[in-house]
Amino acid sequence: MSRLRLFAALFLVLFGVVGLARTGSAQQAGPTPASVARMTFHHGIPYALGHGLGPQAVPELLAMLERTEERPYWANVIRILGMIGDARAVPGLIAFVETRLTGEVDAETFQALIQVNQSLGLLANDPASVAFDYLSRAASLSAWRSKQLRWTFPSLRGEEREILMLKLTINGLGNAGNARSAARLTELQRDLSADTALFPYVRGNLSDALLLNERIQRDGYARVFQ
């Protein structure tokens, strides 16, 4: 009888410990959106980490994008918003490029600006999305000319800003990773090849974007952006 009691006590203790451990792990807080955005990743932000923050991180990240003191982390914020894939981020990202900034921007802001179109691509996986429609319409030099951007950066000469944004729009369509963006890229490759002045600038982006698009369709974001 006493041996039975001993086993019973051991059983209770064992399950009690397991139960406590489970409770403890459930209560462990994951990384906050700000703590991830403020890291400097030597090799880029791992997709699993950014995506894993989830839609609940979007309001905090959008608030960081509004605060000037968070400028060193804006590029990360923008990349993570794309990885999360929540459509609430789209208006803020478009405004960041088109209307938010004026005059000569610093290097940190420039790093953020050149990230927007590629992040919009991650938000454009659904061909019915606002982000996909935006990138599809923005995939021409005339579209970027008509936006009349008000920011500039010292390394940009003449119309290089518009050409750069077009190249990054093409990269964004690659990131969209769906059949319609692949079709749009193929269409651009055919149409722009006749433009001997512009095509040398975008040829590499188009071929890379088509390859990436195909990989994403085949393997998914998590495997492609490990």
Partner: protein, 250 residues
């Protein structure tokens, strides 16, 4: 921890070497260990120096030019951007400080320096590249082909695939932006010397980082996947120090 001017005072000029071993060993040409004293902080740094023949056997101290093992690296910038010798020296000094300083018992005081070799050169943007930003594989390959250990561009939106990057490496040379910091330089040179990522919780590989966050116990290591501690992120092990020094010029 040393400041950079203090290190220059020790290594860039005639320094006093305190013998930590019997003097007779110092009269050989074999490499042996000495302790170099920083005159300003009176701290001791373990370094290995080659001492030549010809020393007087009754001397208890001597004057010699002491220089730690170093890795000279050439630097070249895109012709359309500004990047000065002083800016390059700033990142090399910052990286060297992280490697050399000992922040804790687990942090080796690694006698090793990264240094600029020659003046910062220039290169022209490859065909199709605009604004000094790398956006695709052909631009990336063309910049990697520039004959310099470190290439400086305005932005990196492509490194193997599109994304947001502070630097890019091809296994032998590096592409940085003008704002890339010393911690990234120290980290990338570690990769060039064959070091892999460190972690205690998230199992990164040499080339991937998984879900490592700053709560990891290794988050202040040079070879951690990200910078969590700004300019103070400099913990390296003794074996990692050996790997750095394998690539050094004595």
């Amino acid at each position: 921890m040393w400041s950079r001017p203090t290190q220059r005072a020790v290594f860039g000029s005639i320094a006093t070497v305190l013998f930590g071993v019997p003097l007779v060993l110092a009269q050989t040409t074999a490499e042996t260990s000495f302790r170099v004293r920083d005159d300003q902080s009176d701290s001791l740094i373990d370094c290995a120096f080659v001492v030549r023949d010809g020393l007087s056997s009754d001397e208890s101290s001597m004057q010699l030019l002491a220089r730690p093992p170093r890795r000279p690296m050439t630097v070249s910038r895109l012709s359309t951007i500004t990047y000065t010798n002083a800016q390059a020296d700033g990142i090399f000094n910052a990286a060297s400080s992280l490697i050399e300083a000992s922040q804790s018992n687990a942090d080796a005081s690694c006698c090793y320096e990264l240094r600029r070799s020659g003046a910062v050169g220039t290169f022209t943007a490859p065909s199709g590249m605009v604004g000094g930003v790398i956006t695709n594989s052909s631009e990336s390959s063309a910049v990697f082909a520039v004959n310099a250990a470190v290439k400086i561009v305005s932005g990196i939106s492509f490194c193997g695939q599109s994304g947001s990057y502070v630097g890019c490496a091809d296994g032998s040379t590096l592409i940085f932006t003008a704002s890339t910091g010393g911690a990234t330089l120290a980290h990338e040179v570690g990769h060039l010397q064959g070091l892999c990522h460190t972690s205690t919780s998230c199992n990164p590989t040499c080339g991937q980082c998984g879900t490592c966050t700053c709560s990891d116990a290794s988050a202040f290591d040079v070879m951690f996947c990200a910078i969590c501690n700004g300019a103070s992120q400099g913990i390296i092990s003794s074996s990692e120090c050996s790997s750095y020094r394998d690539g050094a010029t004595p």
